[in-house]
């Protein structure tokens, strides 16, 4: 397998409604920004991998067709990837496979969605099977509410833990100009007072629905060496699926994530993730999930995710969150603001990979973690079903 680097990334500012751009325009914006960042031209792209969320959300069946010009796919192989919320990460991983296999040297991975264009939770409810599952669903929040409640009863996590994560990622977002939500003055009180959607999940425990797009350029080592753009080396990649029979799983024990993490860590030579990873971008569509993912990723033992919140280990150093975070900066999670601050679904998991790349390429601006050398990007999707892990490094493993 060949070494692969990310040499360019782009995503436009996310917002609730992009009036001045349709889906094709957003995809074009993202792809163009990634190419400029890499110092490449559209003609340099050899193959395109396109990812987006379930079709019902946009109402356009196989949208990659609609976006073939905007994604510079004409005259080249173009493939669509779809794995629910994970799709952005799966799209990046597929592009990585294309380059690592030796088939292509320069591959564009691009994703986009406009959640403003339909009743998004209605579309999300159709993700559940129509015979046993869809009947009670309330889009994504209800399934995660059950996961969160089970976690709280099992391990003693409280609403306060959820609220602290909601505040952490929203305050981080204030330093990311591309994040959708910029909630000035966000604090625990505001989370506590926000309306209940599906108990225990309140409105501010949940991600927004955004319009946006994202793009990444994956290249072979040979090409990377010729480019002056800083590199993020893809040192570990894994994607693991759980069964669709969601009633047959302990949702507080993400076995797919554990397996994905183990594989990616082995590839990247990570033996102590909490110590060796400098920054992580996780797919926390709902606040409580972040703690469960900490455990799945081996940042701590099972049932101890809330400790990292109590101690503040996953908070950014030097930021006042309005409560004590004595160990801030040990392993900052979601300096970009995370999924709680931007979520168009199609690009969301790719933005985790983009943000992790930006950190090791020293391009994260105001939300840069100083000296980040190893970054982790996580993706989650399906009915609490798919997990992906990518380890990006300033140097190749």
């Amino acid at each position: 397998m060949r070494r692969v680097a990310v040499v360019g990334t782009g995503y436009p500012k996310h917002k609730s409604r992009w009036e001045e751009e349709g889906l094709t325009g957003l995809v074009y914006l993202a792809a163009t920004e990634a190419l400029e960042d890499a110092g490449l031209e559209p003609a340099d792209i050899e193959a395109v991998v396109y990812g987006s969320s379930p079709e019902l959300l946009t109402g356009i069946n196989h949208p990659e067709k609609w976006c073939s010009e905007a994604s510079f796919s004409v005259g080249k192989p173009q493939f669509r990837i779809h794995t629910g919320g994970t799709v952005g990460a799966s799209t990046g991983i597929a592009a990585f496979y294309f380059v690592a296999s030796g088939m292509f040297d320069i591959v564009l991975a691009v994703t986009g969605d406009k959640n403003s264009e339909s009743p998004v939770q209605y579309g999300l409810s159709t993700v559940y099977d129509p015979i046993i599952g869809r009947q009670f669903a309330c889009g994504a929040p209800s399934a995660v509410a059950l996961q969160a409640l089970e976690y709280m009863y099992k391990f003693g996590a409280t609403e306060e833990h959820g609220a602290k994560i909601a505040v952490k990622n929203r305050i981080n977002a204030l330093r990311n100009p591309k994040a959708h939500l910029h909630i000035e003055g966000i604090n625990l009180e505001m989370v506590r007072n926000s309306p209940m959607i599906a108990s225990p999940i309140r409105l501010l425990d949940a991600c927004p629905a955004s319009d946006g797009a994202a793009a990444m350029i994956f290249v072979s080592e040979e090409v990377a060496k010729k480019l002056s753009a800083p590199k993020a080396w893809v040192n570990g990649v894994s994607a693991v699926t759980e069964g669709v029979m969601y009633v047959d799983r302990d949702m507080t024990d993400p076995i797919a994530l554990k397996k994905a993490a183990k594989t990616a860590y082995t590839q990247a030579g990570v033996t102590n993730p909490f110590k060796e990873i400098d920054v992580a971008e996780l797919y926390e569509a709902f606040s409580y999930q972040e703690m469960i993912w900490y455990e799945g990723l081996g940042f701590c033992e099972r049932g101890e995710g809330m400790k990292l919140i109590d101690e503040g280990s996953t908070f950014m150093k030097g930021i006042d969150y309005g409560f004590e975070t004595p160990r801030a900066g040990e392993l900052p999670v979601n300096p970009s603001g995370g999924v709680l601050s931007s979520n168009n679904i199609g690009s969301t998991a790719m933005i985790r990979q983009i943000e992790a790349s930006m950190q090791v390429r020293d391009k994260a601006g105001e939300h840069q973690v100083d000296g980040a050398r190893v970054a982790l990007a996580h993706g989650w999707g399906g009915g609490i079903q798919f997990h992906t892990v990518m380890i990006l490094g300033r140097e190749p493993a």
């Binding site: 209605y122 015979i131 009670f136 309330c138 509410a145 599906a198 029979m245 009633v247 047959d248």
Partner: protein, 150 residues
């Protein structure tokens, strides 16, 4: 000049017919005719899967060789009260639904939970199915679950 037109409105109305497959078809025949809940036992790990699936996700072994009746009652595992209204919901929010681990089953069964204030729910609480008089061979052959009546 007037404001430019910025969007076009549309609507998809798509009727579907989803096949149960023989396994779920048999499952709903038992609920409809007998008010009984059956699961399929995995031929390898021997766990009883309710609702039945044709292949066990853990063993990749077939399940359908053995059908096992399970109770229409069991333990409450997790629940949520949904407050947020949107199209496609079964009933007007707020409503509560959750997972019940039926006696004799190894998997959690999802359904509405009624006849109790959500604040009074506890994990491990005993719940029982309330059957519908008018059963059509679908998930609503059971109306909802409620705390077990002594």
């Amino acid at each position: 000049m007037a404001e430019p037109v910025k969007e076009i409105k549309g609507r998809l109305i798509i009727p579907y017919r989803w096949s149960y497959g023989r396994s779920l078809s048999l499952f709903f025949e038992h609920t409809r005719v007998e008010k009984k809940i059956y699961g399929a036992r995995c031929t390898k790990c021997k766990r009883v899967l309710v609702p039945p699936v044709v292949v066990c996700g853990r063993c990749f072994a077939p399940t359908e060789e053995e059908w096992v009746e399970v109770a229409d009652r069991g333990e409450l595992i997790a629940w949520t009260t949904v407050y947020y209204p949107f199209p496609g919901q079964p009933t007007q929010p707020p409503y509560t639904y959750g997972y019940v681990l039926l006696d004799g089953a190894n998997t959690k069964f999802p359904h509405l939970i009624m006849e109790i204030e959500p604040e009074k729910l506890k994990p491990g609480m005993r719940m029982e199915a309330v059957w519908n008089e008018d059963r059509k061979g679908d998930l609503y052959d059971i109306k909802y679950f409620r705390p077990e009546q002594k």
